[in-house]
Subunit: 69 residues, 12 copies
């Protein structure tokens, strides 16, 4: 982590499986347009409930990536 | 999410396995008395430690459900 | 939880797999020098990203243990 | 506010119009089953968006009422 | 704290004396209808002032109890 | 907003109508003694409930004004 | 809210009228370039004061929209 | 709590005895210049330690009083 | 408070009596190994409930002490 | 820090140079009317931007001073 | 600050020197693509440590700019 | 930042000069006993005031270092 400038964006990934998979889905989508992703922080974990069980996990991350390379 | 009124309650689910399972246990218990559960938010994740490992995950959720249907 | 005094320390555990495993790695390391660990609270969940996916989960916990036994 | 005990519950009111009306809808629903409502605090203000405008305001309140009269 | 599900409710206890007594009054009232109370957390401490002194301490607690026994 | 020093005070405005009017009432009262008011931030929105509806909105603001002109 | 990825951006809308109108102005501007807006959350409510009254309400929202459709 | 405007100030009271007494000392001092004090909220509780015990409790309160009577 | 370096640790003191006594118990335990304790801040106040009353108060403090003398 | 009562006020200092100088400007202004200033805490650090660089740093402090000497 | 709509983005600037320079580096980078930058708020200040001293200061800002001119 | 376990401690550094120097003093002191320091986060910035100016800056950091090498 040298003398760079980073941008931090907020994404919500969804998954029927769990928290880690919801984050993975967000990263997969983001990697289509963003190079040089470096770190994320989980800032909110929610779920959408249908018929008494978790239909979708919805995990909000802050994602940091280099903007000066 | 139309023009409804929702109630939000706080539950702590426990599990020997992990976070997702602790939430599932809380939802299973809640579904015995609450119909129309819609969403939850994880507000605290703790663990009870025995013999140097996690004996129980304890996950606190806020659970929202419709009160006007 | 009787009339004891507890100390709370902050640790960051890492894992290639996920949140529960990162916490387990922190507890394993801590148990080498700390007896009587009682509970933890997850206070931050981050990830280090390489090549568009999570290379390491990094989970910060507050870990409580008895200091008066 | 004398030597009473109060209970505080969390409700989400919805409205097509705005924040005050969403709170009013929550209070109307609550007053069907709760007597002695005393105060509320707005803890979250959200909106559901359809076709580029706010379809529903969704306002979360904490509602306090006397439980010992 | 085994593999249970807990419910957490929010109460405000009042007292002319002080913080501990305000919490005691809330617990006494709650114990009339709730069995298996396990823990509380103080989340707000306020006072109502009359004639330049504290007429009532008003202490808000989150109270956890077992729902599955 | 040049090289000034500002003071920030906290006020609670009340209104039977709604949030904007409660803030307006606080500003009207403050303007009797404070010149050079510049900005405010809403920090708390509460209501006092009578007979199942909002009798008074009570909105707490932080109010900034220049002290060096 | 199915298995999508959402992006969340932060906007400040202004209005001479009030909070709801400031949000509406932000949504109108955003809808010129963003399709599939889904929800917002109000995260800050401020006002710019001139001549002792609110010249502009300035409401900061987090705005979520689908990025994978 | 009618259609008034309140001012909220922040005070730190000290006491060798405990939290309630530190608040009382702050109220006594404030009552010398402020009429119509109505409520307070405890926002910070600290202590100054000498020779291994609490020499002074230092309790920060927000104190609200009517400004329009 | 001169040009020193301080360390801040987190402790939980317990007491059957109340908040001040729980803090005193934590300080007594800490003074066995730490010299030069200077201040503390209360960061969490909880209680363990048995038979409908508070069996133990559990007060978490951050405790600061000089490390460079 | 003996058995005193302190008042805490909020000020915003500005500077073209940086954070420390903005605080110094606030203290200089405050010292014209307040004796016995004791401590401050930085609660917000903002900047006003013109032509792509920081025109003014704006640092908000809480300033504590003795009111009973 | 008239009746505009602003966008707020999050950037991390780095510097070997200090906080103000890290912010300046973020603004310089941002000004290459963003016109009409108006204000920033410092939301996190971190440092990367090598050989016992700060190798890089890393300062996270929220940066606001006009989107409707 | 590979698959390590880190410990995070809290330190307060002091300086007559400013924020960066206060952090440097804390790191210098810490490096006498801690190897492998990796990062810090500034969590509180305070000052001690004498004669109307800042006598000492007091900056609290969380300091992370590797415990498993």
């Amino acid at each position: 982590m040298g003398e760079h400038v980073y941008k931090v964006i907020e994404l919500v990934g969804s998954s029927k499986t769990g928290i880690e998979d919801a984050v993975a889905n967000a990263l997969t989508k983001a990697s289509a347009t963003i190079r040089n992703m470096r770190w994320f922080e989980v800032v909110e974990t929610r779920g959408y409930v249908e018929n008494g069980t978790t239909a979708y996990w919805q995990v909000t991350i802050k994602l940091g990536f280099t903007v000066d390379e």
